[in-house]
Amino acid sequence: MPGYHSPMGNSPLEVKVISKRFGLPNSSSLDVFVQHDGYQALKKALAVKPEDVINEVKNSGLRGRGGAGFNTGMKWSFVPKQSAKPKYVVCNADESEPGTCKDRPLMEYDPHQLIEGIVIAGYAIQSHQGFIYVRGEYRYLLDIVDKALAEAYAAGFLGKNIQGSGFDFDLCTHTGAGAYECGEETALLNSLEGLRGYPRIKPPFPAVVGLYGGPTVVNNVETLSNVPHILLNGADWYSKLGSPKNGGTRLFCLSGHIARPGVYELPMGFPLRRIIEEVGGGVLGGKKLKAVIPGGSSCPVLTADEIDVNMDYDSVAKAGSMLGSGGVVVLDEDTCMVKLAGRIMRFYAHESCGWCIPCREGTSWLKHLFDRFHGGAALANDPDTALDVSMNILGKTLCPLGDAAAMPTISILKKFRHEFEEHIKLGYCPYEKTVVMSEK
């Protein structure tokens, strides 16, 4: 029963662009890919000027699907045209944001779509080498992607003089070995250079000084998988799929207390309430909704009253959270928010690389505070202390991991303060109705 079957949702509300080939038999093979528009976008791209490709992607409104949501074409345009050092394209497949499992099916079911996107990106910035940095736990995906790479080389979609265009591009996989921090682009570059995955000080940004000191574009798997469709169908078509300035579709990973968990492709800007109620079939077991984490554990939580929001970068930001990585985690009425805050913090304390003191110390302090708190030894000023520590992590670290730890914590402390008060009053967790001392 080893489950090499990433969970895919199936809803009539889906708009399938990057997941359109997922259901096909043998969808990861070159033959099936080519039979379904595969590598047509690459041929189209190679026939126009690199800057035209960049402009097309820029105009499509495609924004980074890793979490930050920066305009992809814009990011590419920051790469200098002339460079003494080689330029690189690095695909970030180090998917590890809790609640996120979308890059996995993209590589499992359609690796050629990703490869095509990477070669187009390489052509756009005139790079000749790329790497796909896959998280170590996704070993079986390395086999699938490596096989696809070999097929692409054999068919002349990679290597020297691709499709007679005179453009050369080499691409290979690289495996990580377990580190959330390496999903941050500069930490990823250090890791790829065989160093500890510490973040780099920015600026300079990777677009100017990146891998081996050369200009480098780092893009997420989902971002790059979108690129062929933009080239094939046009920027206008793509941007109209989503809401203004938020082009295209998005893979949403529905997990937690939801009736039908799964990865669903929906238009950017699809309402969160409908994602939960219609796409996911509502809260598991017909219970009441308490809160939603809209885009992976780094995002501030939204309460049940705040879910009337359209799921695009700008609307979710306006609602005080982030679209993030697309990991929608649903929490029912019986979830202890103190326990959740503690579990989230335990993750960040484990993953903090230790480079910046506010993050290294702050996440550990908060982990201990929440564990003690949930364990029945809450002190009256603990919520304020936790808020104070969080505010002293926020914005005070080199990479976003510190912010990622602080943001959900602050939102839980503020929006669910009453749950903390209740723990203090009772001396135990009102949900577990017993004193739970964690050994962790």
Binding site: T100, T175, A177, C253, S255, G327
Partner: protein, 162 residues
């Protein structure tokens, strides 16, 4: 002694990069798969191959949670208890795993067959609760499913008399 096929794989991996050092983590991981852990011999060989000092390899190993400097069980049971799994009962599943195997977090059974580790998000959130045994994913776990799987693995092992 590292196998010839592994050493050949080392050469192939190193050739991928403009800088040999880049191959360090992949080499360590594949060597670990063969040896069972990152032994002193592995460290020395990888250091020699990527042309760094052994201490620099040790420095890198300490950063990555999947690299082990000490032997772990033949079957490394890694249970995710991060949020999506926690909400679907991962804590209870993990507790059950401890009981079933008779060991706690980061321990190995006396016969060297199973290790147990509580891990962070595996990227199987929609199939929560989930775990990996070595590199294989198991999703929608229940105590019953876990027991059946462990029994199946034990049956494969002649040295286990349980």
């Amino acid at each position: 002694m590292l196998s010839d096929s592994l050493l050949k794989k080392f050469d192939q991996l190193i050739a991928r990069y403009p800088l040999k050092r880049s191959a360090m983590v992949p080499l360590l991981l594949y060597a670990q798969d063969e040896v069972g852990h990152v032994s002193e011999e592995v460290i020395a060989e990888v250091a020699r191959r990527v042309e760094v000092r052994p201490i620099e390899v040790v420095e890198v190993i300490g950063y990555y949670s999947m690299l082990h400097r000490h032997p772990v069980g033949k079957y490394n049971v890694q249970v995710c208890t991060n949020i999506s799994c926690m909400l679907r009962g991962a804590d209870e599943v993990f507790e059950h795993c401890c009981k079933k195997l008779g060991i706690k977090n980061k321990q190995t059974t006396p016969d060297g067959l199973f290790s147990l580790e509580e891990v962070e998000c595996l990227g199987a959130c929609c199939g929560a609760p989930a775990m990996q045994i070595n590199y294989d994913f198991y999703e929608n776990l229940t105590p019953e499913k876990f027991d059946a799987l462990i029994e199946e693995l034990k049956k494969k092992e002649p040295r286990s008399k349980m």
